[in-house]
C-alpha cells in the first residue's frame, strides 16, 4: 500500500475492506479460553469425585480452588502467545462479561464452605451458562448461545441429584457448555483465517 490519492469510491472501498479485516480477526483463538476452562473443570470434577468416592473424605472439595489457580494463568499465558496484534471492542466486552461472571461465581461459592446443602454447583452452572450465552450473543455464534441456554436448563439436575453424583453432572454440563462450542469456535476461526 502506498501514499497515493484515492477517488471517493476507492476511499469507501478501502474503508469497508479494512473494517471487514478487523471483523474477521475478531474470532481467532476465541475458542481457546472455553477449552481451557471446560477441560480443566471436567478433569478437576472427575478427580474430586473419584477421591471422595474412594476416601469418603469431603475435604477433597478444597481442590475446587485448583480450578481458578490453573485456568486463570493458563488463559493469560495462552492469550499472550496467541496474540493476534489487535484488541477489538468485542474482545474487551467479552473480557468484562467474564470478569463479572467470574467474580459472581467466586462470591456465590463462598457460602458453600459454611452452609450444608448449599446448591453451589447449580449456581455456578447457571452463572456460567449466562456468561456463555451472552458471549454467543456478542459473537453472534449460535453454538455458544444454545449451549449456554442448554446449560442453564440442565443446571436444575444439580438440584435434583444433590449428592456426590451432581459433580459428574457438573462435568457433563461443562462438556456441553464449553468444550463443544470451544472446538466449533476454533474450527470456524481456522476456516476464517484460511480464507
Amino acid at each position: 500500500m502506498e501514499n497515493k490519492q484515492l477517488n471517493a469510491k476507492e476511499s469507501l472501498d478501502l474503508i469497508a475492506s479494512m473494517i471487514q479485516n478487523t471483523q474477521n480477526s475478531m474470532e481467532r483463538n476465541a475458542g481457546v479460553p472455553f477449552l481451557i476452562w471446560g477441560y480443566t473443570t471436567i478433569i478437576i470434577s472427575i478427580i474430586i469425585w473419584s477421591l471422595i468416592t474412594i476416601t469418603e473424605n469431603y475435604l477433597w472439595q478444597f481442590l475446587w480452588f485448583a480450578l481458578p489457580a490453573i485456568s486463570i494463568p493458563t488463559t493469560y499465558i495462552t492469550n499472550r502467545h496467541n496474540t493476534k496484534g489487535i484488541t477489538t471492542y468485542i474482545d474487551k466486552i467479552i473480557l468484562q462479561v467474564w470478569r463479572v461472571f467470574g467474580i459472581a461465581g467466586f462470591l456465590v461459592s463462598i457460602p458453600a464452605f459454611f452452609l450444608e446443602g448449599y446448591p453451589v454447583l447449580f449456581c455456578i452452572i447457571l452463572l456460567m451458562g449466562m456468561g456463555t450465552a451472552l458471549t454467543g450473543l456478542i459473537l453472534k455464534f449460535k453454538p455458544c448461545i444454545w449451549s449456554g441456554f442448554i446449560a442453564m436448563a440442565l443446571s436444575h439436575l444439580c438440584l435434583i441429584y444433590s449428592g456426590l453424583n451432581s459433580i459428574l453432572i457438573f462435568a457433563l454440563v461443562f462438556l456441553i457448555m464449553m468444550v463443544i462450542p470451544g472446538h466449533i469456535l476454533n474450527a470456524r476461526a481456522k476456516k476464517l483465517s484460511l480464507q
Partner: protein, 96 residues
Amino acid sequence: MFKDLNPLLHSELRLAIMSLLLSAEEADFVYIKEQTKSTAGNLSVQLDKLSSAGYIKIAKGFIGKKPNTSCKITNAGRVAFAEYVDALKSYIIPHP
C-alpha cells in the same frame, strides 16, 4: 457542493490505518503492517504523521521480552474520520 477532503486522511495508507483503528480498541504495528501490506519504514512515517495530528496515540512497550508498538485512535481521530466520510458522501451522492 463538494466538500474539502482532509488531506491527512485522503491518502491510501493513512486512510487504511485509520479505518483499521476505528473498529479496534487497539492494534499493534505488525498487525497494521500485515493488513495494509506496507513497508515498516513507510508505515512508521505515516503513523508519526497521524500521531502528530493527534488522530492516534502510539504506545511503545514490551510483550514479554519482545518490543511492541501499539496504536489507538483518539477522539479527535474519530471526529476527523467522521468528517472525512461526510465529505466523501458529497462526492458520491448526486447533487440536484
